[in-house]
């Protein structure tokens, strides 16, 4: 008996596999039985087997510490898959497509006529203070009118059982390689589960990504030369950059491998000279991609890249400037954005959000700091947040003054009771909190991954799922009911 039933029964959260009465949800019955019958020692063995496999496969991520510098850590993984029934997923998938479609229309509008601002649906004052709005992109027409070709949206399920969108990552979202590798690890560790379950396959992602990128080529008809541009080996997501290049059969390049010539075309430096590049899947932030256009001190970028992109000689994915919609204040307007461009109601709801720039909301937030989660508009990785219920008085005072100094930069949300999934902790199965990051590809078609990357807070009671801060991940299964 490996399942710690007590932990699930006195549990104020929604568990994705086990009901408050301690029974299995309908789609998880066989998994539940399998786990319940497994001896704790055996379960522990499987977990160790997974860790060994991950070490052998070299699945790593980089973390930084002042003492040790950049170190390569094995990817933390929990062996029990997170399951989502197919029917529910179909809804989520439709909701994500709707969302990304609206966001792309929104970005394109912001860099052209700004109709949404003129129609007073989206305030000019928010746009004026957006740190990710790029003047350099105004008037540019990227291929197919799409700016965010690869989007990773973070979803959570609240204790009311509803799935909400927590944020959209439209700059350089990462994690998809881990999603793919997690499935391979699960196959090594729990082969017998695949006899009873057939989770929807996910392995066509690299091919879909390739097709999406190829559809952007400025030289349609030819076989396009696609490259993945990485900041290099010290980047925390380097593993993923190399992985995706390898899976797509593309070159993995660094800034110094590329050069923009007088014809505004981008070339890579080969052993026998230069050859032209058509599409760049860039995994470098906007501000570093071109020292000519942005940060002149950037050593990572390629001088002239913006010039080449504006001239339509090379496609960049995601397009520079796409991050303007990747702002937590903009996030709070997404329901209005969907309504404005598509004339539809959002299929997946937003988490209710107070914008501190509104006087009334600001007052409310300052009064209720102890209950709320406060987030800065443009941070990722869980940094710079205040989690009210877990905060000290001093931390709240510090945040109150931060918010008052720059209200536009903060939003607040109720503290969510995010759902849990059974997770192995020293031979016992206990509930741990999870989120989900599906990936949405937008080219000629919109494709959503079957599931996504489930991140799990491995520490008991913790809500932080980021791998740099004690989080791990799980394989995610979309299953028939």
């Amino acid at each position: 008996m490996s399942i710690n039933f007590e932990a699930f029964q006195q549990h104020p959260f929604y568990d994705e596999m086990i009901t408050p009465k301690g029974n299995a949800r309908s789609y998880a019955r066989k998994m539940y039985k399998f786990l319940a019958e497994m001896d704790p020692a055996e379960l522990d063995n499987r977990q160790k087997g997974a860790e060994l496999a991950i070490k052998q496969m070299g699945i790593t991520f980089r973390v930084y510490s002042k003492e040790e510098g950049a170190i390569d850590r094995a990817w933390p993984f929990d062996i029990i898959p997170r399951m989502i029934p197919r029917k529910e997923w179909n809804q989520v998938e439709a909701g994500l497509k709707q969302r990304v479609q609206a966001l792309n229309l929104f970005i394109d509008d912001l860099y052209h006529d700004q109709k949404i601002v003129k129609d007073k649906v989206f305030p000019a004052s928010v746009l004026a203070k957006s740190v990710n709005f790029r003047e350099q992109c105004v008037g540019v027409n990227p291929p197919l009118g799409i700016w965010a070709h690869i989007c990773g949206s973070d979803l959570v399920r609240h204790s009311d059982g509803v799935i909400y969108v927590l944020e959209d990552n439209l700059r350089v979202p990462s994690g998809v390689s881990y999603m793919l590798e997690n499935r391979l690890v699960t196959k090594r560790v729990f082969p017998e589960l695949f006899e009873t379950y057939s989770p929807m396959p996910i392995d066509d992602y690299p091919a879909d990504l390739f097709d999406t990128l190829a559809s952007l080529s400025p030289r349609p008809g030819d076989t396009p030369e696609i490259v993945v541009l990485t900041p290099g080996i010290y980047n925390s997501a380097y593993f993923e950059h190399a992985y995706l290049a390898q899976q797509m059969g593309c070159e993995l390049v660094e800034g110094r491998d590329l050069v923009v010539q007088d014809d505004n075309c981008v070339y890579m430096r080969n052993i026998d000279g230069l050859s032209r590049v058509d599409v760049i899947y860039r995994r470098i932030d906007d501000l570093f991609i071109d020292p000519e256009a942005f940060d002149p001190n950037s050593m990572l970028g390629v001088p002239g890249l913006m010039r080449a992109w504006k001239a339509g000689k090379v496609a960049l994915a995601n397009a520079p400037g796409a991050g303007v919609a990747d702002d937590k204040v903009v996030y709070s307007y997404v329901p209005e954005i969907i309504k404005y461009y598509l004339d539809q109601d959002p299929i997946i709801p937003n988490v209710p959000t107070w914008r501190c720039m509104d006087k009334e909301s600001l007052d409310y937030v300052l009064e209720h700091l102890a209950e709320l989660v406060v987030k800065p508009a443009n941070e990722s990785g869980g940094y710079g947040m205040l989690i009210g219920p877990a905060s000290t008085k001093a931390e709240r005072a510090e945040f109150a003054s931060l918010i008052k100094a720059d209200p536009r930069n903060y939003i607040a949300q109720p503290t969510l009771g995010i759902s849990t999934v059974p997770t192995v902790d020293r031979g016992k199965v206990e509930p741990r909190h999870v989120d989900l990051r599906p990936f949405i590809l937008s080219g000629k078609n919109i494709e959503v991954t079957m599931g996504g990357l489930t991140r799990v807070a491995l520490r008991k009671g913790s809500l932080v799922v980021n791998s740099s801060q004690g989080g791990g991940s799980k394989d995610t299964w979309i299953v028939e009911e």
Partner: protein, 310 residues
């Protein structure tokens, strides 16, 4: 193919071969202990001299002992040429070109390094050391086989092999040099028979003994051994074979004229002067000459194909 990738994979070839041959060097010297008559001990100092790391060693170590030198050459991560550092460098390099290497090979390179690190304590004493080194050599041989069998033999493979063959040619000359440094004193006639035995020991360390026997069909004699290791055209660890192999790989690359000139020079050196190395000082000079010519070849490979380093 990207210049940067060409350079990276060339260095993977070099690191891999350097790790393997450093292991062989240490094996030669460790075996000499068994073969030398009582009272004569092999000298460990020549190893660091020949590998070009004597200065670094002496900055850190007050004395030369077998234990200190072998640790320095096998497991010392602060010595950039130690076996463990070569494996680490090969791994870091392989990580930057994972997209062109078969997945299994990356996993092998990764686990090779992890194993070497996890078991390094077993290399400290003489009895565990040979097994430790042999495991590394076997793993490296497996990697070579895997790459030969699973990687497309395109330009990446050409650069991998250029790196391996230039390093191997260089290291074979260094291994001979180590042997030549450990000589039997001339003034003790009863030790004379050991001289040839020592050459045999070296052949065995290079896994060359059987092949030597087959092809030379004479008893082990210094001059024949040297001629075999320098000039035999079919034995894959001979300098001549490596040079010929590089000539083939270079000829498949664009703009290789300058590099091919160096190959000609090397071949002339190999053809003409091996017979003139009857004593050890002359042998040492000859080896120096070959090493300089190999270094010149490296410079022009880098100049022709790799990114400029500013």
């Amino acid at each position: 193919m990207l210049s940067r990738v060409a350079e990276t994979i060339y260095w993977i070839g070099r690191y891999q071969e350097r790790a393997e041959n450093t292991a062989r060097l240490i094996k030669v010297n460790t075996n000499l202990i068994l073969d030398l008559p009582k009272g004569l001990m092999p000298d460990w100092e020549p190893l660091i001299t020949i590998l070009g790391s004597a200065q670094l060693y002496h900055e850190r170590h007050p004395e030369v002992t077998e234990r200190r030198i072998t640790n320095f050459l096998i497991t010392d991560e602060s010595n950039p040429d130690s076996i463990i550092s070569c494996l680490a460098s090969a791994r870091e390099s392989a990580r930057t070109i994972r997209e062109i290497m078969p997945r299994e090979s990356w996993e092998l390179i990764n686990s090779m390094y992890n194993n070497a690190l996890d078991n390094k304590a077993s290399s400290y004493a003489r009895q565990g050391r040979l097994a430790y080194l042999e495991k590394i050599m076997a793993d490296l041989q497996q990697l070579i086989g895997q790459l030969a069998g699973a990687m497309t033999h395109d330009r990446a493979y050409v650069f991998l092999n250029l790196g391996r063959k230039i390093e191997r040619a260089d290291m074979t000359t260094r291994i001979i040099d180590v042997r030549a440094e450990n000589t039997i004193p001339d003034d003790v006639p009863e030790l004379k028979p050991f001289e040839d035995m020592l050459w045999m020991s070296m052949l065995k360390s290079l896994t060359a003994y059987q092949m030597y026997r087959q092809s030379m069909q004479v008893r082990i004699r210094r001059d024949e051994v040297l001629s075999f290791l320098f000039c035999h055209t079919k034995f894959p660890r001979s300098v001549s074979y490596c040079v010929d192999n590089m000539r083939y790989y270079l000829s498949t690359l664009p703009n290789s004229e300058v590099c091919l000139k160096h190959i000609e020079t090397l071949n002339q050196t190999l053809d003409s002067s091996v017979k003139k190395t009857s004593d050890n000082p002359a042998l040492h000079q000859y080896i120096d000459k070959l090493q300089i010519q190999l270094a010149d070849l490296h410079i022009d490979i880098a100049r022709t194909y790799f990114p400029e380093h500013v």
